[in-house]
């Protein structure tokens, strides 16, 4: 029986009067890659934002390894071992690649461990080493995405949240990013992946949830969903 890492129980979140999540329940087991797919505005990013406390849920429970996250501010949630590569990469544009990575380890006091982790990130994304002293804002979109993921890994999270990592990237780079996601997962990090690119997301994940206007409408092993005619029609562009 695998250990449940993150569990959302009937979580609702709203932006002012607009309800973005209407009772979402989902579960992530240790070691999995779980993906959350859905159209624009379905509530995918809001789900991530609720988990990380950026949009505190109105009702329901969010449990990380049994601990309730609802009332915690974002930086405390990060301290528990959850890390996020936010949508749109959110690189610190005026800091160098090296400084961006160092900030990722902001809560980790052990310098030697951080050095090792930095080496791991570089092994994963050798391109970052070539851009080492360049300011984050001058990187290409793909490099920024690598930096965003690398930076999120610097805190050595047990759960990594990725928000649209393939957004706006050339197909070749999408491939690189997803290969990296697989590699990160193989080293033992559990991943929650939010994606519009349902095709790639289903290929690179164990289980999937489909969100539609704030509710989960389907869930199951990714393989199975990828073969489901409704999913194929709505999200994989097939008739």
């Amino acid at each position: 029986m695998p250990k449940t890492m993150l569990e959302l129980k009937i979580v609702s979140s709203s932006y002012g009067a607009i309800e973005a999540l209407k009772g979402v329940s989902l579960r992530i087991e240790q070691g999995e890659i779980v993906t959350l797919i859905g159209a624009n505005g379905a509530g995918k990013s809001t789900t991530l934002r609720s988990i990380t406390g950026l949009v505190p849920p109105v009702s329901g429970d969010i449990l990380f390894e049994g601990q309730r996250l609802n009332a915690l501010p974002t930086h405390k949630i990060v301290a528990l071992g959850i890390s996020m590569a936010p949508e749109g990469r959110a690189i610190f544009a005026n800091l160098t690649v090296a400084e961006n990575l160092e900030l990722g380890a902001y809560l980790q006091p052990d310098a030697a461990q951080n050095e090792r982790q930095m080496d791991r990130v570089i092994t994963l994304f050798p391109r970052l080493a070539e851009r080492w002293r360049q300011q984050g804002g001058t990187l290409s979109g793909g490099e920024q995405q690598m930096l965003a993921i690398g930076r999120a890994l610097m805190s050595r999270p047990r759960l990594l949240l990725l928000d649209e990592p393939s957004l706006g990237l050339a197909p070749l780079l999408v491939h690189t990013i997803f290969a990296a996601i697989d590699a990160i997962n193989k080293e033992g990090t559990t991943i929650l992946l939010v994606e519009q690119n349902a095709n790639a997301a289903l290929k690179h994940s164990h289980r999937a949830y489909v969100l539609e206007t704030g509710s989960i409408v389907m869930e199951g092993p990714s393989q199975q969903l990828a073969n489901d005619p409704r999913v194929r029609e709505a999200y994989l562009g097939e008739k």
Partner: protein, 322 residues
């Protein structure tokens, strides 16, 4: 060890200049040099809030005033007993002790004021924060106007002159070095991260609220010390020295120099102080000329004179070989 030698050399150089400077450049220029030093402290400290942390404060004169009056009060009312306690020291050392105590009080009170302004204003961003800080500056000024014990609208006179070139520039050095070291530490990088992207900063585990308050408190403490040095140089304080135009001048210094750059803040403080002096001969046209100059600089050099240029090489870890 080498650090201490540098400090000794710096102190000896300052003391040497202190002894000879006034004779070399005359009393008028000497006073401008003092003013430049005080403005450097104000600009470098405000740069921590506005440039490094990316918040927008236009109430720096308020913290400056708090420090000036706090220090003057401590020295004015407590001076005789402090002097009596250190009577065994030579007169110059007694002055130093008094000034240090005054500056210490100034830093603490101004820091507390920074905390008081910082905590409620965390929720505010951009323009709204600016309005709160502007309001704070004015409240402080009006409060002082109505406090008779520190002179009220008559001004606070009878403050002993304790600060001079030596103390002002020692404080300048300490301010620049502390803020430089802070900004380039890993803790200080969090300040920059708040400016660049607040959400990403939170996602790194940075307590952005705390960082913003810290930037206010640290910055205010240095502004307070600047106030102390100012009061103990001019020997007279009046609320009109702390009008919101004072705050604006400090903002102009850091914007002209290059927002976020410590070197820029220093350069801006030197330039603006000197330009305001040089333009005195234009009389009523002084501020018009000043404004035209600012408009020109912003048109041709919008990133500030220095932009993000820095004297110091970044001490990054070397790129890993791969």
């Amino acid at each position: 060890m080498r650090k201490w030698i540098y400090w000794l050399v710096a102190i000896a150089a300052l003391a040497g200049l202190q002894a000879s400077l006034k004779g070399l450049i005359g009393a008028y220029n000497y006073q401008i040099v003092i003013l430049v030093g005080i403005n450097i402290i104000l600009a470098v400290s405000l740069n921590l809030i506005n440039g490094v942390t990316g918040q927008f404060s236009i109430g720096h004169a308020g913290f400056y005033a708090v420090g000036a009056y706090a220090s003057a009060s401590v020295v004015f009312y407590g001076g005789p007993s402090i002097r009596a306690a250190v009577a065994f020291l030579p007169a110059m050392a007694q002055d130093g002790v008094l000034l240090l105590m005054g500056s210490f009080a100034a830093a603490i009170t101004a820091g507390l004021a920074g905390l008081a302004v910082g905590i409620p204003s965390l929720r505010l961003r951009g323009d709204y924060l600016a309005i709160v800080t502007l309001g704070f500056g004015e409240i402080i000024r009006v409060l002082i106007l109505n406090l008779d014990v520190i002179g009220g609208s008559r001004g606070f006179s009878g403050i002993p002159q304790l600060s001079n070139f030596f103390w002002v520039y020692l404080a300048v050095l300490i301010t620049i070095i502390s803020i430089h070291n802070l900004v380039h530490s890993s803790y200080g990088r969090a300040f920059v991260s708040v400016r660049d992207d607040e959400i990403a900063a939170e996602a790194m585990g940075v307590d952005t609220t705390r960082i913003k308050v810290m930037s206010f408190v640290i910055s205010s403490m240095f502004a307070g010390i600047a106030g102390s040095l100012f009061g103990h140089y001019t020997m007279y304080l009046h609320p009109n020295s702390f009008l919101f135009t004072t705050s604006f001048n400090i903002i102009i210094m850091i914007v002209i120099g290059g927002l976020g750059s410590i070197e820029g803040a220093v350069l801006g403080a030197i330039l603006i102080t000197i330009i305001l002096e040089v333009f005195r001969e234009f009389g009523a046209m002084r501020l018009v000329n000043f404004s035209i100059l600012l408009v020109l600089i912003m048109l041709y050099r919008p990133q500030g004179l220095l932009g993000t240029w820095t004297l110091f090489k970044k001490r990054d870890r070397a790129a890993p070989a791969n």
